[in-house]
């Protein structure tokens, strides 16, 4: 390890329990095509989501496809302009920062993408791929940059002689490691991992997860881990948020959520996860949801989940339930808990 990275790590160690990133009532709306005179219509991808992640911790974000979990991740990095709410990074409001104002924050926030086959430029060699953030953010020069690249490639378990090769020469797991090395190139504090393992085989998934965990131990990174693999989310996260149709329906400390889930959606989502243990699998009762997720263009009134909920009451159609504290580790947005 070079001194720069060690200093970076110790500097962070002293400030544990500090909030790294926070979303307050975050809203991301996408404008849809509509006629010139007709009222503009919006797709409410994220509709008022609040949470915060403590430095050095991992928050898992789960939900079905189209629930807005990736949009939340991208919005935190300011890749979208929020329609409402606030984003705070290390306590500073970056909700409406301009590109120039964002520049110092860019190096502190990075992203690992889902598909290692499409997220690496096939025409660049590995050295150039890893160097790209350094080049874009004007970090390191000359020999220092080369040393840093070598350090990074070793950190993710590859060898410096891989640097002259091209992405097609690597397997999926190795490519994902290259993606991780690229994300680390800028010395980030906060990393959004958007389904980093879903394109990988089971035996390779564990390799990548172990690397992410080791890096977090050594450098105190903060992760937002977006995934639909609920057992992996339980393994890696300290807090978990469950999203449904652009809303955070439940948010809790990880064991509290898995052992004492409250929202009917969370219950059915977790019960649907197949258990890799025949005896437990034969005992577990699946709660099978009827129908599909409604369209976010025209979401149901009141609670977004009421159309598929077995416990829906009159109030659920009238009033949208707010995320409220059940205890200090657990929040849920449901009219059943009042």
């Amino acid at each position: 390890m070079t001194t720069s990275m060690t200093e970076h790590a110790t500097a962070n160690m002293s400030v544990t329990e500090k909030t790294c990133i926070e979303a307050q009532d975050l809203k991301i709306h996408f404008k849809l095509k509509s006629g010139f005179f007709s009222k503009p219509r919006y797709l409410k991808a994220v509709d008022g989501v609040s949470f915060s992640i403590t430095q050095g911790k991992t928050m898992g974000l789960v939900g079905e496809s189209g629930c807005g979990k990736s949009t939340v991740g991208r919005a935190l990095l300011r890749l979208y302009d929020p329609a409402g709410g606030k984003i705070l990074f290390n306590g500073e409001d970056i909700t409406h920062s301009s590109d120039a104002q964002m520049q110092p924050y860019r190096k502190k926030m990075q992203m690992i993408f889902q598909d290692p086959y499409t997220s690496l430029d096939p025409r660049k060699n590995i050295r150039d791929i890893i160097a790209e953030p350094m080049w874009a953010l004007r970090l390191y020069e000359g020999k220092e940059r080369e040393d840093r690249i070598r350090e990074l490639i070793e950190m993710v378990g590859l060898k410096p002689d891989h640097l002259n090769r091209y992405p097609h020469e690597f397997s999926g797991g190795q490519r994902q490691r290259i993606g991780i090395a690229r994300a680390l190139a800028a010395e980030p504090e906060f990393i959004v991992c958007d389904e980093p393992i879903s394109a990988l085989d089971v035996s390779i998934q564990a390799q990548v997860i172990n690397i992410l965990e080791e890096l977090q131990e050594n450098f105190h990174f903060t992760y937002l881990f977006i995934s639909h693999d609920l057992s992996m989310v339980r393994h890696i996260s300290s807090e978990v948020g469950v999203m449904y149709l652009g809303n955070l329906v439940e948010y809790a400390q990880v064991d509290e959520l898995y052992d004492n889930m409250m929202h009917p959606y969370t219950k059915s989502l977790l019960s649907a996860v197949p258990v890799a243990d025949p005896i437990r699998a034969s005992k577990s009762q699946r709660i099978i949801l009827q129908g599909d997720v409604p369209s976010p263009i025209d979401p149901p009134s009141g609670c977004p989940f009421r159309t598929r909920c077995a416990y829906a009451k009159d109030i659920c159609a009238k009033e949208k339930p707010l995320l409220q504290n059940i205890n200090d580790k657990h929040k849920v947005a449901c009219h059943l808990y009042k």
Binding site: S203, L230, V275, A276, I288
Partner: protein
């Protein structure tokens, strides 16, 4: 369920499939033997590229032109599939053996309505009239749990959600009441909630029609929830075969043990990955293909391919650790 439950329905012996490519000959399946019984669900697990899909496509004879297929025998219900002509095979494909493909987004034809795609096999195989076929199609859509089936019949695949399309795929595969249903990663592209619906539906269809199921997946959780017997494949070979209890609780192969160890547990202990990557099938290793990644690898593994050694009544594993001579030397190894 038919009274013939438990009888052998499909028997495959020494199946080898290779592909002629620009880079050379890729040996995707390198000599596998297995059987499927009537009324049972057989799971096949393995990593991408281990030959699980290719072996099923070989049985269905749906391989591309550059494929070369060899086998000692492929018997389906006592009939030899290996020497059937393409025309004879067509009366089996989609009729007596149904197949569900992995990706419902790409395996339905975007140019035809659900009705056309569902009635086609009914009219072709069961010789139903258009009207009868439509009535049957309607009932099938109802059976697979599609709401307002009349409306869906006239829709095109792009108008349906992923879960709906997979249901339509199941309806097409099941409409001629096949004796064998091959499901190639039927839920991999779907969300867990939809996956649960589809697995439930498959279990229900199996009950109702007494169909045997071969389920290909890489998810051990899916295997544990609906299969009775499991085949573990690696690098074009069968590594282990047994009941789900054998595979999960009396694991006989280091590869299976490695797969089980890389799944996260509730206790959050550190995951134990299988290091390295699978071998290149253009140039497969001489000995056991798992040698390079195996924590128990010995010299003999590098030199010779291990035979399948029986460990229990229906449980066998291809690993030198179970061989008499090795056991005599180093004793029983705990996996």
């Amino acid at each position: 369920m038919s009274e013939k439950t438990g009888e052998t329905l499909l028997e495959v012996k020494n199946l080898r499939t290779s592909f002629q490519t620009d880079a050379g000959i890729v040996q995707s399946v390198r000599g596998i033997s297995f059987h499927a019984n009537r009324g049972e669900s057989l799971g096949i697990v393995g990593e991408s590229g281990c030959g699980k899909s290719v072996s099923m496509l070989s049985i269905m004879r749906l391989l591309a032109d550059n494929a070369h297929l060899k086998a000692d025998k492929i018997l389906f219900n006592g009939e030899d599939l290996l020497h059937k002509t393409a025309k004879e095979m067509r009366s089996i494909q989609g009729n007596r053996i149904g197949m569900i493909f992995q990706d419902p987004m790409t395996s339905l034809n975007p140019l035809f309505t659900v009705e056309e795609q569902l009635c086609n096999p009914l009219m072709r195989h069961l010789k139903l009239s258009k009207k009868e076929a439509k009535a049957r199609a309607l009932k099938m859509l109802e059976d697979v749990g599609i709401p307002s089936p009349e409306k869906r019949l006239s829709q095109f695949p792009h108008e349906l959600s992923g879960g709906m399309r997979q249901r339509v795929m199941i309806a097409i595969a099941m409409c001629c009441q096949p004796e064998l249903l091959i499901a190639d990663e039927p839920t991999t592209a779907l969300d867990v909630t939809i996956q649960a619906q589809i697995l439930d539906l498959m279990a229900h269809m199996k009950q109702e029609y007494g169909t045997s199921v071969i389920l290909i997946t890489h998810d051990l959780g899916v295997i544990a929830s609906i299969c009775t017997r499991v085949l573990v494949m690696y690098s074009g070979l069968v590594m282990e075969e047994g009941s789900i209890e054998d595979i999960f609780y009396r694991t006989g192969h280091p590869y299976t043990a490695g797969l089980l160890a890389s799944i996260p547990k509730e206790t959050k202990e550190k995951l134990i990955p299988i290091y390295g990557t699978p071998p290149d099938l253009l140039n497969p290793p001489k000995g056991c293909p798992f040698t390079a990644r195996c924590p128990h690898a010995m010299e003999v593994c590098r030199q010779y391919q291990p035979p399948l050694v029986p460990l229990g009544e229906h449980h066998s594993s291809a690993c030198w650790l179970h061989h008499k001579s090795v056991k005599a030397k180093i004793g029983e190894v705990k996996l």
